[in-house]
């Protein structure tokens, strides 16, 4: 039986959204993820679409447990984000958002590297419009930088794919491993999209510059596609454990001093992806389950947090912590929903983050990664600090900014409510999520040891926040830009290039000048040498030589007239 690949409905509805208006468009956009998701529920495992291309077999649609859970997560994320953006009247955003969601879904069901590459690049080209749709100079330049880096990742993937085809004589996307040129190239390509340290700045640079609704879409798809790709291609690659551990730790320092609250969330997104990368690197059944389920939960709770901050931005027009505060008085529903998201990302027991993150932590201990485990523990405390406390505290509490705005439109509230419901639902009844995971481990997060340890860790982190605040040692929110690695390519490299080029042009001018002067001197020298000598190069000739030449010409005339 020919199955419809799940990315197709999204692309079709993107086309319909481009030519329709108003409620028709809304109904079609809402129906797409619901129907496609229900259809996906029925699809059995296996390869459903393949054909030959040149000498290789392409598999644009392959279903197994790993791709399915990401497929479900992306359908849920698309559904929530579409509800959240129902009020938007901007065809550009609506069309590209649908195509973006479709590309992400296409990528996780791609069974070969070439199909993956196509969706990989589509992800970049569709999502950048969600950044540009903000229509400010800042978003335009941030989008450009984003696009350059994303396309670069795609090109590396393509080159890696070519090497892979040459090395293995197949394009099938399964375990790759860090062997040979192909393995490393594809790894780097995945790493760029996964926001590995030093190549992470596209995320913290571009996401906060996107539109209110665009960021919600962005936060769900790109990095999770990369996590999926790593989980399929590089499970058990030890290097990932260390990369992931760094990813969990370094962003939290930046998040603590960042003023733009959506940028704080962007940093915490890297931190959460770090947990998934560690899980993939450990590579045991429990660790992979932890990574995958954490990706599933992160799509929802990070979406919820971005939605709540989006609601604040939408209603107040401000997103800097230094400008906000006291909003709980007039935005009580948003406040409550944001706190649910904050509790989930902080992995409080009974919230979704707890049931997935604890798997990665347990796997790290089981496999003897003691120091990694300590780093993850520190990152868990840190994420509570910056995402769990800082976000709600500075937006909704802290000092009263005097801003009085109501809760956002109902569609935004409904989207947040669904996400919050899922966060709590998964936290209370994790078995539902566990049944979707690639492996069956019989893991139970709710034993007394785990619950007590996690609650102690979190509440004493909260105590630290209170203590630091009361002592006046907590860094105030300041209007500022904090330098990160992107300074290298946004400032240092351009400045260095500029000074190199200005040096080169100075040297060049000096050399030319020197050459001209020397040439002049040489000519003058020559003419001086030949002064009055009647030679070929002399500037002046003696009068005698002219008289002689006149005589020669006259003699020639005479001779010619004579022979005529």
């Amino acid at each position: 039986m020919l199955e419809i690949p799940p990315f197709l409905p999204f692309f079709i509805s993107a086309v319909i959204a481009a030519v329709s208006r108003g409620s028709i468009r809304n109904v079609i956009m809402l129906a797409t993820p619901v129907l496609s998701g229900l259809h996906l529920w029925m699809v059995p495992d296996g390869i459903h679409l393949q054909f030959d291309f040149l000498d290789y077999q392409l598999i644009p649609y392959r279903v197994d447990k790993l791709s399915l859970i990401f497929g479900y997560a992306f359908h849920i994320a698309a559904f929530i984000a579409i509800i959240y953006s129902l009020h938007v009247r901007d065809t550009l955003q609506q069309v590209t958002a649908m195509m973006y969601a479709g590309s992400a879904i296409g990528a996780v069901f791609a069974g070969d590297l070439l199909s993956l590459f196509v969706f990989w690049e589509l992800l970049a080209f569709t999502s950048v419009f969600l950044i540009w749709a903000r229509r400010t100079q800042r978003s335009y330049t941030a989008g450009m930088r984003y696009l350059v880096i994303q396309v670069l990742s795609g090109i590396i993937l393509l080159v890696g794919t070519l090497f892979y085809a040459a090395e293995n004589d197949t394009l099938a996307f399964s375990f790759i491993g860090l062997e040979g040129v192909a393995g490393w190239l594809i790894f780097i390509s995945f790493g760029i999209k996964c926001a590995f340290p030093l190549v992470h700045n596209w995320l913290t640079d571009a996401y906060p510059e996107a539109t209110v609704t665009g960021t919600v879409f962005l936060s769900a798809f790109t990095t999770k596609v990369a996590v999926y790709a790593l989980a399929r291609g590089y499970p058990g690659t030890e290097l990932l454990v260390y990369i992931g551990a760094v990813m969990t730790c370094f962003p939290i320092f930046f998040a603590v001093i960042e003023n733009d609250l959506r940028r704080v969330l962007a940093y915490s997104l890297i931190n959460q992806v770090g947990f998934m990368v560690v899980g993939i690197g450990i590579g045991t059944v429990l660790a992979i389950n932890g990574a995958v389920s954490h990706a599933f939960n992160d799509v929802i709770f990070k979406g919820l947090l971005f939605m709540s901050m989006g609601a604040v931005l939408h209603m107040t027009g401000r997103i800097n912590g230094s400008d906000l505060g006291g909003l709980y008085k007039t935005m009580p529903k948003t406040t409550l929903l944001c706190i649910v998201g904050a509790a989930s990302i902080s992995a409080f027991p009974l919230f979704s983050g707890f049931v997935s993150k604890s798997m990665v932590m347990a796997a790290a201990l089981e496999n003897g990664y003691d120091w990694i485990w300590l780093m993850l523990l520190f990152a868990s405390a840190g994420v509570f600090h910056h995402a769990g406390i800082k976000i709600p505290y500075f937006a909704f509490f802290a000092h009263d900014s005097g801003i009085r705005v109501s809760d956002p439109p109902n569609n935004m509230l409904l989207a947040m409510l669904i996400a919050a419901g899922l966060c709590i639902g998964i936290g209370i009844y994790p078995a539902a999520l566990y049944s979707l995971l690639p492996y069956d481990t019989g893991y139970n997060p709710y034993d007394a040891t785990h619950v007590l340890a996690q609650t102690q860790l979190l509440l004493f982190s909260a105590l630290a926040f209170v203590w630091l605040n009361l002592r006046g040692m907590y860094p105030p929110e300041l209007r500022s830009t904090n330098l990160d690695f992107d300074w290298i390519y946004r400032r240092a490299a351009p400045n260095a290039l500029q000074s190199i080029f200005s040096f080169i042009s100075k040297v060049d001018t000096a050399l030319r000048q020197m050459f001209l002067v020397k040439l002049d001197q040489f000519l003058a020298f020559l003419s001086r040498r030949n002064e009055g000598t009647s030679g070929l190069l002399s500037r002046t000739y003696p009068a005698g030589s002219m008289v002689m030449w006149v005589a020669v010409i006259l003699a020639t005339y005479l001779f010619l007239s004579f022979i005529h």
Binding site: S85, H87, V88, R89, D90, Q93, T136, Q137, R138, T211, V212, I252, F253, F254, V256, I257, N259, D260, H314, M315, G317, K329, T330, A362, D370, L377, F378, A381, G382, H385, F397, D400, R404, V405, D447, A448, T449, L452, A453, Q456, L457, L458, L459, F460, S461, A462, L463, A464, L468, M473, Y474, L478, S480, T481, N482, L483, D484, R490, R491, P494
Partner: protein
């Protein structure tokens, strides 16, 4: 967009210092209780450090304090003015008004309505 509500001008919950105090005491109480539970609940530990009394509370508290202190210290060499990256071209031209315009433009208004 700013819907002034007359009802909010009354004192809100956290405007009363007494309520803030109550929340804080609740937190202190929970912390003490959780520490006490360490004696009662038998843990199935996987790591020897977990056996140390008060390992998780101490680690959470110290970790967060260190996090904040280090982050604050990082400000001394990472912090730049808000329009640091925006001013590259206009700063050379010495036109202050273009800077003002740029920061007003990028001041975080959204255009999806």
């Amino acid at each position: 967009m700013e819907n002034e509500k007359p009802s909010v001008d009354k004192i809100s919950f956290f405007d009363k210092p007494k309520n803030v105090k109550r929340i804080l005491y609740l937190l202190y109480g929970s912390c003490v209780l959780l520490l006490a539970l360490d004696f009662v609940i038998h843990r199935h530990v996987m790591h020897r450090w977990e056996n140390l009394w008060g390992f998780y509370p101490l680690y959470g508290f110290v970790g967060c304090v260190v996090l904040v202190l280090v982050a604050t210290w990082m400000r001394t060499f990472l912090m730049r003015p808000e329009n640091y990256y925006d001013e590259d071209k206009s700063a050379v031209d010495e036109k202050p008004d273009t800077n003002v315009k740029q920061s007003a433009e990028s001041g975080g208004h959204d255009v999806d309505a």
